[in-house]
């Protein structure tokens, strides 16, 4: 168990380095001198050269990369071209908002998704099943920006129940969290329903019935924990899609988070900022996967003992 977690950890580090390298190379092959792009058309050649040297962009790419990684390990992701501030400082300011949004969305998605999935499985082919599965499919099929704008239009603009944008109070998180989480809630509900139905066909469910367990006991004691195993895997993967969706949600609701920072980085052609945000979200995803792996081992004794 410890060994396998260690192996997972090393793999995660490799993946992180790989992502860093990939982004680094991709952003370096962009045609044109980034400094020139950043400083606009009026900068003179000397200034551009001085800045290039200052940023170390005149050195060979592997040296640049090594320097970047070493700096990043110390928490230094460089300085944003467009905002003139250290990237780490910008991200630190934005991270709280993104984290709050992601946690709220995940809570909404998983609680609602799992509950709906269970009810749908138990009332298979009933009214609630069709209703919940309809909502799930809607969630999976509607683009995030559509949900976001729809919620904004109806609940904030028309009904004035909730703020249109910003996260000055907790109320500000409600609409963005639903907009962001609906999609995940939909896929979780569908998966919970199908795995639960699958698990309920397993032989050990018959065993439980044979010893006199009723349907609720079977569901809670025997089926749910087994059904949660694939759901856990999906939830870990959703961390990534939640962060993807956060880019859109933050833009629609004008929340100053990592996603919006990334969009700003692109419009400002701000390589250090784009690089920083991409790396940072990757780090979150990788950490989330590590956490899911260890949780999985707790839930499934078969994994626990084997390698």
């Amino acid at each position: 168990m410890k060994q396998s977690l260690l192996r997972r950890f090393i793999q995660a580090v490799i993946v992180l380095l790989g992502v860093a390298l990939m982004i680094f190379i991709m952003l370096r092959v962009v045609p044109g001198n980034p400094v020139a792009t950043m400083m606009g058309e009026h900068a003179d050649i000397d200034t551009i050269q001085r800045m290039t040297a200052e940023l170390g962009l005149d050195q060979p790419i592997h040296v640049q990369f090594a320097r970047y990684v070493l700096d990043a390990l110390r928490g230094d992701f460089g300085t944003s071209y467009s905002m003139g501030k250290p990237v780490s400082q910008l991200m630190a300011a934005a991270f709280g908002n993104t984290l709050a949004l992601a946690v709220a969305a995940a809570l909404f998605a998983w609680v609602v998704g799992i509950a709906c999935g269970i009810v749908a499985a138990v009332r298979k082919n009933g009214l609630l099943d069709h209703l919940f599965m309809g909502f799930s499919l809607l969630g999976v099929s509607m683009p995030v920006f559509m949900v976001a704008m729809l919620l904004q239009y109806v609940f904030a603009y028309h009904l004035h129940w909730l703020p249109i944008s910003g996260v000055d109070s907790w109320k500000g998180y409600i609409l963005p969290a639903i907009a962001l989480g609906w999609n995940s809630a939909g896929s979780v509900a569908r998966l919970v329903r199908s795995t639960l139905l699958d698990v309920l066909q397993q032989d050990y469910i018959d065993t439980a019935r044979a010893k006199g367990r009723g349907q609720p006991g079977i569901l809670v004691l025997h089926a749910l924990r087994n059904a949660m195993l694939p759901v856990m895997t999906m939830m870990a993967m959703q961390l990534s899609s939640l962060l993807s969706g956060a880019v859109i949600t933050e833009t629609v609701f004008s929340i100053n988070g990592i996603g919006r920072l990334a969009v700003q980085a692109i419009s400002g052609r701000d390589i250090p900022l784009l690089q920083g945000t991409a790396l940072f979200t990757t780090l979150v995803v990788v950490l989330g996967n590590l956490l899911a792996d260890s949780l999985y081992a707790v839930l499934d004794p078969r994994i626990r003992r084997e390698a």
Binding site: M142, M149, A278, N289
Partner: protein
């Protein structure tokens, strides 16, 4: 799913139902069965067909020009004159939608074909060859999957620059890894299957085994993955366009129309919601069809 469940019931009760078990019915039989049992999937197929027809015959079907401005009628709501209203330049939204569907459908299909081809080839190679090839391909896939897809797409779009071709390339690069993973795991289990071992005993060469025994048995999975990846690509493109990073004017994709319409959300909501609804409808249709296909073709894929 239905098929799978039926098989479990049959096994649990130990009764014999040869024709019912249907281990590997012909493709045509399966399609007919889906048509019979899953109305929703059939309706969805019809909807998709309608969208395709609309895209192909856009010039014939458009009531107005899609690009000519008409400032007198700008931002008019859906009604008799303009079925879906007009945009900020007074252009007919229905016409623009029809033309936009060309881009949106292409953006769904072309990158999906590319990413499926790449993912399937790499996944099959990795699963079949094993060893360092497998390790290399899978670590590469891990790296691609560790970066949230939206950010990955943004970084690639930044690198490649704007343009329809670059959108195709970006979406292909974003999606191949998950395809590769699924195909690899299927290849691995097929490689261990007895009939592949049986082919080895007979002396069939490895490339032939891959082509004759493994590929055909991966096909149902690939078909299902295709129908489920097309809507994913459409959604990603629309999100990119929504951020202004995808297709650029004068090409009109639905995502771009939403992006432009967003500025008029409060006084002309149809500008955003009409194309959004179209995206939702096509994605929904593909999802229904994909679910239906999966139920008959590849019930094991359910938990992936």
């Amino acid at each position: 799913m239905r098929l799978n469940r039926q098989r479990q019931i049959v096994e649990a009760h130990d009764i014999r139902l040869e024709s019912q078990i249907g281990e590997a019915e012909r493709f045509g039989d399966l399609m007919r069965r889906m048509a019979r049992e899953n109305r929703l999937a059939m309706v969805s197929a019809l909807v998709i067909l309608l969208f395709i027809l609309g895209a192909v015959f856009a010039p014939l079907l458009s009531p107005y020009s899609a690009s000519e401005m008409d400032m007198l009628h700008r931002l008019s709501p859906p009604g008799a004159g303009h079925l879906l209203g007009t945009d900020e330049g007074g252009r007919d939204i229905l016409s623009r939608m029809l033309y936009g569907s060309r881009v949106s459908l292409l953006v769904g299909v072309v990158p999906t074909l590319l990413s499926m081809a790449l993912g399937a080839a790499l996944g099959m190679l990795a699963g079949f060859a094993g060893g360092w090839i497998d390790a290399l391909v899978m670590r590469l896939a891990d790296i691609m999957l560790a970066l949230p897809s939206m950010l990955l797409a943004m970084v690639i779009m930044y690198t490649l620059g704007d343009g329809l071709i670059n959108v195709f390339l970006t979406l292909s690069l974003v999606n191949w890894a998950s395809v590769a993973r699924i195909v690899r795991s299927q290849t691995l289990s097929l490689k261990k299957s007895e009939y592949v071992e049986a082919a080895r005993v007979i002396g069939v060469k490895r490339p032939v085994i891959l082509l004759r025994h493994i590929l055909p048995n991966c096909l149902p999975t690939l078909i299902v993955l295709f129908t489920l990846n097309v809507p994913a690509a459409i959604l990603t493109e629309s999100s990119l366009s929504f951020l202004g990073l995808g297709v650029q004017p004068p090409n009109a994709s639905w995502g771009l129309m939403v992006n432009v319409g967003r500025q008029y959300l409060y006084n002309a909501p149809w500008l955003s919601f009409v194309p959004s609804a179209a995206i939702m409808l096509i994605v929904l249709a593909f999802n229904f069809l994909g679910d239906g296909l999966r139920d008959v073709l590849d019930p094991h894929l359910k938990n992936n």
